[in-house]
């Protein structure tokens, strides 16, 4: 009886121990950071801006897509290796900066253990000094727009929006109310004011999240100000 128990236990532990032989190790190194312009995070909408990591040397090619969070941060669990990081053209409300090391927009990433790396990009516009005030159920946002890329590559503002949502995800898809101002009535450097009246929210909550979005003409992804929690 005792012998049988020992055999059964032995077999089970043998099974468990062999799992280590049968499986590959999971990726163990974390690459994380932010998309920044001069140290300031680029805020975007969720699931919309991605960049690619390529690991050369394999027979078949396939990229690892990393998506950027609302606040411009990203994170990916990876194997230690040498990667090439590429932000595809037409991706994001910015353009890539030529990398000194590669002479192109490709960034070489040597991953050995965890790594924090901010990616410097050049946005077409930045939303400056966003501020939100509340009176009753009206949320008022004031901000200024700064044009970063000027000259031949400059683009126009298509529109600016104030978005208000009941959750932390705030953009053109996720909002309970939004107000819009055409780009033609926005002047760089002067204060722009947008006001939205928050409708009744079920279940009732006494706070909302708000931020300003700016759509650049000819660019699919919008640039935003950070999400701010506003108490009603």
């Amino acid at each position: 009886m005792k012998l049988r128990l020992i055999i059964v236990l032995g077999v089970i532990s043998g099974f468990l121990a062999s799992c280590g032989y049968d499986n590959y190790d999971e990726p163990g190194s974390k690459l994380e950071g932010k998309l920044v312009y001069k140290g300031e995070a680029i805020n975007v909408s969720y699931n919309d801006v991605t960049f690619q990591l390529w690991e050369p040397g394999w027979q078949k090619k396939g990229e690892i897509n990393v998506s950027v969070n609302q606040d411009g941060s990203y994170g990916a669990m990876l194997f230690d290796a040498n990667y090439k990081l590429i932000i595809p053209s037409n991706q994001g409300p910015f353009r890539s900066i030529t990398n000194a090391e590669t002479g192109s927009d490709t960034i070489l990433v040597k991953l050995a253990g965890n790594k924090v790396m901010d990616i410097e990009v050049e946005p077409y516009f930045m939303i400056r000094t966003p501020q939100f005030t509340v009176s009753g159920r009206d949320v008022t946002g004031t901000f200024k727009v700064e044009k970063i890329i000027t000259g031949a590559n400059a683009k126009n503002i298509e529109r600016v929006n104030l978005y208000v949502n009941k959750t932390q995800f705030v953009d053109f898809r996720a909002n309970v109310v939004s107000t819009e101002l055409a780009g033609s009535s926005v002047t760089e450097g002067t204060t722009v004011t947008l006001k939205a009246t928050v409708p009744a929210i079920t279940p009732t909550q006494n706070y909302v999240f708000a931020r300003i979005g700016l759509k650049i003409a000819g660019v699919e992804d919008m640039i935003f100000s950070p999400v701010i929690k506003v108490n009603l």
Partner: protein, 624 residues
């Protein structure tokens, strides 16, 4: 000894068997050989029929669900609610890369070219049909993927270990369109003329297809300017703006040649214009308008279930129906008889409801195509009136409704239970009920039994019809600056729909062109391609949850969610309006998200397997 002699006899028998070549070298009984096929006209016809059948299509009567992917319809079916809940369209959606089929068509063309036992006239027709099918497949590919490798002969691997010589790069988008146009021009003379043949290629079809192909190329060239990032440096995606006028001219010329040939005419057999429009799609006897169809036949195995899956529940011949519900977005797009647009008003200026004696009264005085396309509350189908009403509305605004078809409840002040909802719904979350308040009418068979699973329908699927050709001509003429001509062609189509006040030159705008195609060609599989070529898709389906537009005649109004319009019976015993109908605009409960067509959706993704097998293939734009 005896054993040995038996063995010997067996060996001799086996040996004989081997000697006789005819014994083992038998002709197969399950497949036909090349020689057999290419000597017999009817066998070649079966081969070409199979190829006709395999050309890819999107949005047909054999797949009702695809019509619910955008803003034309609501999918009233448990397994399809996700269409209204998901947000982005996948980059791989609508993609196609069936080079296996192209190889088969190329083999067909090659073998047909060397066949010597066929009558020369038959051979020329088969050859032309093969090339038509190939052009058609390339048209389907270029609509979806942009420029694709143009393979016009069958390629064979030599097993040398290096298949790289078989790799071909993508042609430019314009080159693929030019190839299709060239092929159509070359084969036209070998095809029969006249409107008698409908399920095979004819000269009329060549002209109709040419007008559509040229129009697509032209509008991509012109409206591509609105989406500068939807291009590739090599021209695989995007057409130069300077080519637009040339394509528009060709589109107009092809359409006019067909119109002036007199071989086809608009379908005008019925007095009632709505009935006439509905009949256009189901009348298979001497239909003067249909140019190219996919035909079906009862009791042959080739039938379809469009009527079965979409029949009104109140008169369903089987235990299903009611799946595709046209949206209010579409229904409100049908204009009034004085050529103006108006949304349906359901309330008076003082905020009170407007009371209608009959639910159909809300929809009177509209384009006759409305009732030919959509079954409205109070419409008649198969001789019986539909029963669409969502419940009783009391004087204080409360609603009494049921949660099943024809549910019964006792109304206040009464003692016996009675019906509180129609046998067609609308009931939120109840599949097969008219959750938008409407059922689809186009292509719905009137034959008894067409709603039974064991019978189904033999109504054909019209791929090309003269009505579209008129609109192609109108659009091309408009884009070429000839608004008078555009108005003439558009008025011919509109007159058939009861819009007898002709549009003038000044009325013709881009919005008009877009709108006319929307109402004339709803549920005919044009919407996605039209929105893509006008580069309107990312504007109209932009992912924002906006209210229903109040300007249905405008081309670029956002329409990301499906809306509905529900009738209620007003219950106010003794009151003046008791028993009348009121309407409420609703958004079906299953519609939880807004459609978003991203720039990367304009050309479907060529997946990484294809790109790894052939590194010459460049990726479509905006998909990383």
């Amino acid at each position: 000894m005896k054993k040995y002699s038996i063995l010997l006899i067996m060996l001799i028998a086996l040996g004989w068997g081997c000697n006789d070549e005819a014994f083992l070298d038998k002709e197969p009984t399950n497949i036909l050989l090349n020689d057999q096929i290419w000597g017999d006209k009817s066998l070649v016809l079966s081969v070409v029929a199979d190829l006709y059948d395999r050309v890819p299509e999107y949005q047909t009567i054999q797949g009702w669900w695809d019509f619910a992917s955008f803003d034309e319809g609501f999918a009233s079916n448990g397994g399809d609610y996700w269409r209204h809940k998901n947000q982005d369209y996948g980059y791989g959606e609508w993609s196609n890369w069936d080079y296996g089929l192209i190889r088969e068509v190329n083999l067909f063309i090659e073998k047909c070219g060397t066949a010597d036992k066929l009558d020369p006239a038959d051979k020329a027709q088969f050859l032309a049909e093969g090339r038509f099918i190939r052009a058609n497949i390339y048209f389907e590919l270029v609509k979806r993927m942009g420029g694709v490798p143009l393979i016009t002969e069958s390629m064979t691997y030599d097993f040398s270990g290096d298949p790289s010589y078989l790799r071909k790069p993508r042609a430019k988008e314009a080159e693929v369109y030019d190839f299709i146009i060239k092929e159509l021009d070359e084969i036209k003379a070998d095809l029969p003329k006249g409107s008698g043949t409908k399920s095979r290629a004819t000269q009329g079809l060549i002209l109709a297809m040419k007008s559509r192909v040229c129009l697509y190329a032209a509008s991509i060239a012109k409206y591509g300017a609105n989406t500068p990032t939807v291009t590739l440096p090599g021209g695989e995606v995007g057409i130069q703006a300077s080519l637009a006028a040339g394509y528009y001219t060709k589109a107009l010329a092809a359409a006019e040649e067909l119109i002036n040939s007199g071989d086809y005419s608009l379908y005008k057999k019925k007095e009632n214009l709505s009935e006439n429009f509905a009949n256009l799609f189901i009348d298979k006897g001497n239909n003067p308008e249909a140019i190219f169809v996919k035909d079906f036949k009862l009791k042959s195995g080739k039938v379809h279930g469009w009527t079965l899956v979409n029949q009104p529940w109140s008169q369903a011949e089987d235990l299903e129906g009611g799946r595709l519900n046209p949206s209010l977005n579409l229904v409100q797009s049908f204009e009034k008889l004085d050529n103006t647009f108006e949304t349906y008003s359901t309330t008076q200026a003082n905020g009170d409801y407007i009371y209608f004696d009959s639910p159909k009264d809300l929809f009177v005085g509209r384009d006759a195509r409305l009732e030919g396309t959509v079954m409205l509350p109070g419409s008649v189908y198969k001789g019986k009136q539909l029963d669409i009403w969502a419940g009783f509305m009391l004087a204080d605004g409360t609603v009494i409704k049921g949660d099943n078809f024809g549910a019964r409840k006792t109304l206040p002040g009464k003692t016996a239970p009675e019906y509180v909802v129609g046998w067609d719904g609308p009931i939120d979350n109840l599949e097969f009920s008219a959750q938008s308040g409407f059922y689809v009418r186009k292509y719905m068979d009137l034959a008894v039994g067409s709603g039974q699973r064991g019978v189904n329908s033999e109504v054909w699927w019209i791929r090309y019809r003269l009505g579209e050709v008129y609109l192609n001509a109108a659009e091309a003429a408009f884009e070429l600056g000839n608004k008078a001509k555009a108005a003439t062609y558009m008025n011919i189509v509109r007159e058939r729909a009861g819009l007898v006040i002709p549009l003038t030159e000044a009325d013709i705008t881009f919005d008009r062109v877009v709108h006319e195609r929307k109402v004339e060609l709803a549920f005919e599989g044009h919407q996605l391609w039209d929105m893509k070529r006008w580069r309107l898709a990312h504007v109209v389906w932009n992912g924002e949850s906006t209210e229903l537009t109040t300007n249905p005649g405008k081309a670029n109004e956002v329409s990301t969610r499906v809306f509905g319009m529900w009738p209620y019976k007003y219950y106010n015993p003794g009151g003046a309006n008791d028993g009348k109908y009121v309407f409420k605009k609703v958004i079906p409960a299953q519609v939880t998200n807004a459609h978003r067509f991203r720039l990367g959706n304009y050309y479907s993704e060529i997946n990484s397997t294809i790109r790894n097998n052939n590194p010459l293939i460049v990726r479509n734009p905006n998909q990383e």
